[in-house]
């Protein structure tokens, strides 16, 4: 079966986090709002209502395009896409069929081939329907939320590459600041078009719509490819159709075949003049773009981080930014901070911490304390966690460590006193004797006793050396 080549193209809908909707001046943030409470007469498609294009949405679309290394269309245009359904109040969606605002571009992936972007267009989202036994409810809060639909070329050839592409798109959109990026809320939704073929000619594709997690993108493609190959192996044909994904069963099921598909009767939108941008405007937006993931990847190169560790940090622009700042302070201190980020902060079950609480200076200071053995690495982690506690915002790492009684005892005089007490203790005589006789395993017990007596503040390395010196 390995001779089948899988080919995938992905359409990704990204909800833009503008203050107001794409064509109407009502709140675009409908999270936790009453149904139909963020709806204007335009969204309701009352007679005589006209769309007024949201300039912020245009700005964010340009930012999104630049984040994807895309050409920006200096003149773009809107079109009407007609269909009757209660989620579409006007009977048409305003989209960009012929002249999209974002042109061709390319997405670089870690460990996979690049994926080219065909184009991305700006459009209004549809409303939300909830179906019951003999009726359905319509919520238009989401109707008119600005979306960009990013259409990839069919450059993807494995489920893993598809996932990497989806994750990188998510990172890019988050870094550009154009979306809240909450997959659970549907801020990014993926439609995957999958086909398999043994030849250079593409096979018949199926489309799985509305996937809202990276894992479901990966699994849906795995399932579809296997299903299509099985069909072909049996001598059957793949039907071109839209299929739905069931996350619980891990299967796709047929929804509607393309033969019966709607004719959208596209028409230029006469109520919105063409969107004309100047190159100066695009250049200005480009000059104001925040740093993108690739910038940080290059920046973190000297830290020699694991791929997975680095990418995990890159999922959070704030952490990547902090780490970059630590690199600026002292690059030698940065790897430890990176490990704390990935191994402590991001490993926590409940990630509701405010990542902005610890400053780069504090993180560098803490890393330096461990570097200089003022703190054990275990104690360093404990102080690190406390840096993300709101109560501690005004405290320095040193003050915190002191408060937590974690500062290591490096003063040889003080250490010697403790060691002498330990070596004099009756319960330690056996171990001391063993060490004197060259049985070095026994030294661990003695070091442990010293640590206990010092309440963890002694530097175990220094203790080890001192004991050896005394018993030799």
């Amino acid at each position: 079966m390995s001779e089948y080549k899988i080919t995938v193209g992905i359409e990704c809908h990204v909800q833009l986090n503008t203050k107001t909707k794409l064509f109407s001046a009502v709140d675009n943030d409908a999270v936790d709002k009453e149904p139909n409470s963020c709806v204007s007469p335009f969204d309701y498609a009352l007679p005589g209502m006209l769309p007024v294009l949201n300039k912020e949405a245009v700005h964010k679309a340009v930012q999104a395009g630049l984040a994807m290394n895309c050409k920006i269309g200096l003149e773009s245009r809107f079109d009407r896409k007609h269909y009757f359904y209660p989620d579409s109040p006007a009977g048409y969606q305003i989209t960009q069929m012929y002249k999209p605002i974002i042109g061709a571009g390319v997405i670089h992936l870690q460990g996979f081939d690049d994926v080219r972007i065909n184009h991305a267009h700006l459009e209004g989202d549809a409303g939300k329907l909830t179906h019951f036994d003999d009726y359905s409810l319509v919520d238009l809060n989401r109707a008119g939320t600005p979306l960009i639909e990013i259409v990839s070329e069919a450059d993807i050839h494995s489920a893993a590459q598809a996932r990497a592409y989806a994750e990188e798109l998510h990172r890019l959109m988050i870094y550009a600041g154009v979306t809240n990026g909450d997959l659970y809320q549907g801020n990014m939704r993926f439609d995957v078009n999958t086909s398999v073929s043994k030849t250079d000619e593409l096979g018949t594709k199926t489309e799985v719509k509305n996937l809202n997690s990276f894992r479901s993108v990966e699994r849906a493609i795995e399932y579809e490819a296997a299903r299509q190959i099985a069909l072909l192996e049996k001598g059957e044909k793949v039907v071109q159709e839209t299929r739905g994904w069931n996350d619980a069963t891990g299967k796709t099921t047929g929804q509607r075949s393309k033969e019966g598909a709607a004719d959208y009767r596209y028409m230029p939108e006469p109520d919105i003049p063409p969107v004309v941008l100047t190159q100066e405007y695009v250049d200005k937006v480009a000059s104001e773009m925040p740093a993108m993931p690739d910038f940080y990847r290059e920046k973190f190169e000297p830290l020699k981080l694991d791929n997975s560790e680095r990418e995990a940090i890159l999922n959070y622009p704030l952490l990547a930014g902090r780490l970059a700042e630590v690199c600026e302070e002292n690059i030698k201190l940065a790897p430890r901070v990176a490990h704390w980020f990935s191994g402590v902060l991001l490993a926590e079950e409940n990630l509701d911490k405010d990542f902005s609480l610890a400053t780069a200076a504090e993180l560098a200071e803490l890393s330096e304390m461990v570097e200089k053995s003022e703190l054990s690495s275990t104690a360093g982690k404990e102080v690190f966690i406390q840096l993300y506690n709101k109560k501690n915002t005004s405290k320095t790492p040193h003050a915190l460590a002191k408060e937590m009684n974690l500062l290591q005892e490096n003063d040889e005089g003080a250490l010697e006193q403790i060691i002498d007490e330990v070596l004099a203790a009756p319960e330690c005589q056996k171990a001391a004797e063993d060490v004197r006789n060259g049985e070095m395993k026994a030294i661990g017990f003695l070091v442990g006793q010293v640590m206990k007596k010092s309440k963890g503040k002694a530097n175990p390395g220094a203790v080890n050396k001192l004991i050896q010196k005394k018993l030799s």
């Binding site: 007679p47 007609h82 209660p86 109040p89 009977g91 009767r265």
Partner: protein
Amino acid sequence: MKIADKNTKAVDLVKAALAKAEEYKDYNVFISMNAEAALAKAAEIDEKIAKGEEVGKLAGVPYALKDNYSSHDGNTTAAAHILDSYHSPITATAVAKIEAEGAIMIGRANLDAFAHGGSTENSYFGPTKNSADNTRVAGGSSGGSAVATALDIVEFALGSDTGGSIRQPASFNGVYGIKPTYGAVSRYGVVAMASSTDTMGCFAKKAEDVDLVMGIMAGQDAKDSTTLPDYWNKSLDEVKPAKKKIGLIRDCFGDGIDPEVAKIVREYGDKLKAQGYEIEEFDMPILKYGLAIYYVVQPAEVASNLSRYDGVRYALRSKDVKGLDDVYVNSRNEGFMKENKRRIMIGNFVLSSGFYDAYYLKAQKARTLLINAYNEAFEKYDALLCPVAPTPAFKLGEKTSDPLTMYLEDAMTVPASMAGLPALSVPAGKTEAGLPVGAQLIGRAQSDQLLLSIAKQIEDSEAK
């Protein structure tokens, strides 16, 4: 026009208008009256005048509103069953501006449902009758507004013109009617017909009154992205033609044109000549495609704009429904008039995949050629002269069974619409049988006031 002041009470103006509306009830001019609110507003204005407060340029002037403009006063039905219970929560920008100057809407005027038609016979509320001969049509689609003005019920009336819907009924009833430059007046709040040619204009009995009303309505509106920055800001006497040369479009005086109409419009040309204008006949052969272009583009936009009337959120929902498809099919089938359905079908056909290039795209290309032809003409002429309609008002019922002859009524009005140009219907004379005939003046974009200034010169010369 008569404006309320210390000597003229707004309440009296409104009462007189309401009495006349009652007197001419048989003409079926209004879909609904606004008597109570109108009288209350008039009383407010009188009180302000008594106190010496500012009351606006149209204080107390009664007007009729074509029933496709949204406002808080009354239902906005667009003369269609599907909307007859619809009360708008918003007010159209044009209405808001007029009312802010003190004008008082006494009633909502009849039209062809959704402005589809040239006779006001396609109204769910029955046809409006011609002001000069009540066995004849009012013209349309703004028939009610034209007749309300012609019968002197009101001083002016608002209409909308997508392919001739103001100019043709103005011609049939002997009043001025203006279709302004596309984008001159905000479309916000007016039930859309064909968005790329919809314009908001008015009817009145004097060129100056048209200018006064339009000057108030015109101007950029943040709610309509196609509106132009305000240019309607001169006095008519200031506006002067550059060349004093007018092109008479010869193509519009040949076959299919009633000889009396042709004669009256040529005579209007003679009056211009007497005022020192040079009249030159010229050919615009592309005009013969105007109707074909219009009847592809317009139904496409109509079909799209009428998609929202689906019985889901507001307006008519059929009682005969078992599922979602029934909500759509039965509500729309019961709620739209025959002519609405015809245009929806033509529009969806020309937009269908496989036909889009052959019809819609080709029509848009031809539209560009039409615009080029006009631009060429305006290199030579200040304005163009031709009839408004090929005939005077025809008999009620005469053309209802033959939509194609009805569409031919629009042949001389749709080209200016497709090019977005201002065009004015000027009362030019009457036929032997006493039926009014209008002459059409067409100008370059944003030369609306020049057209009015030319018409005013003739009006003034005849008053002497």
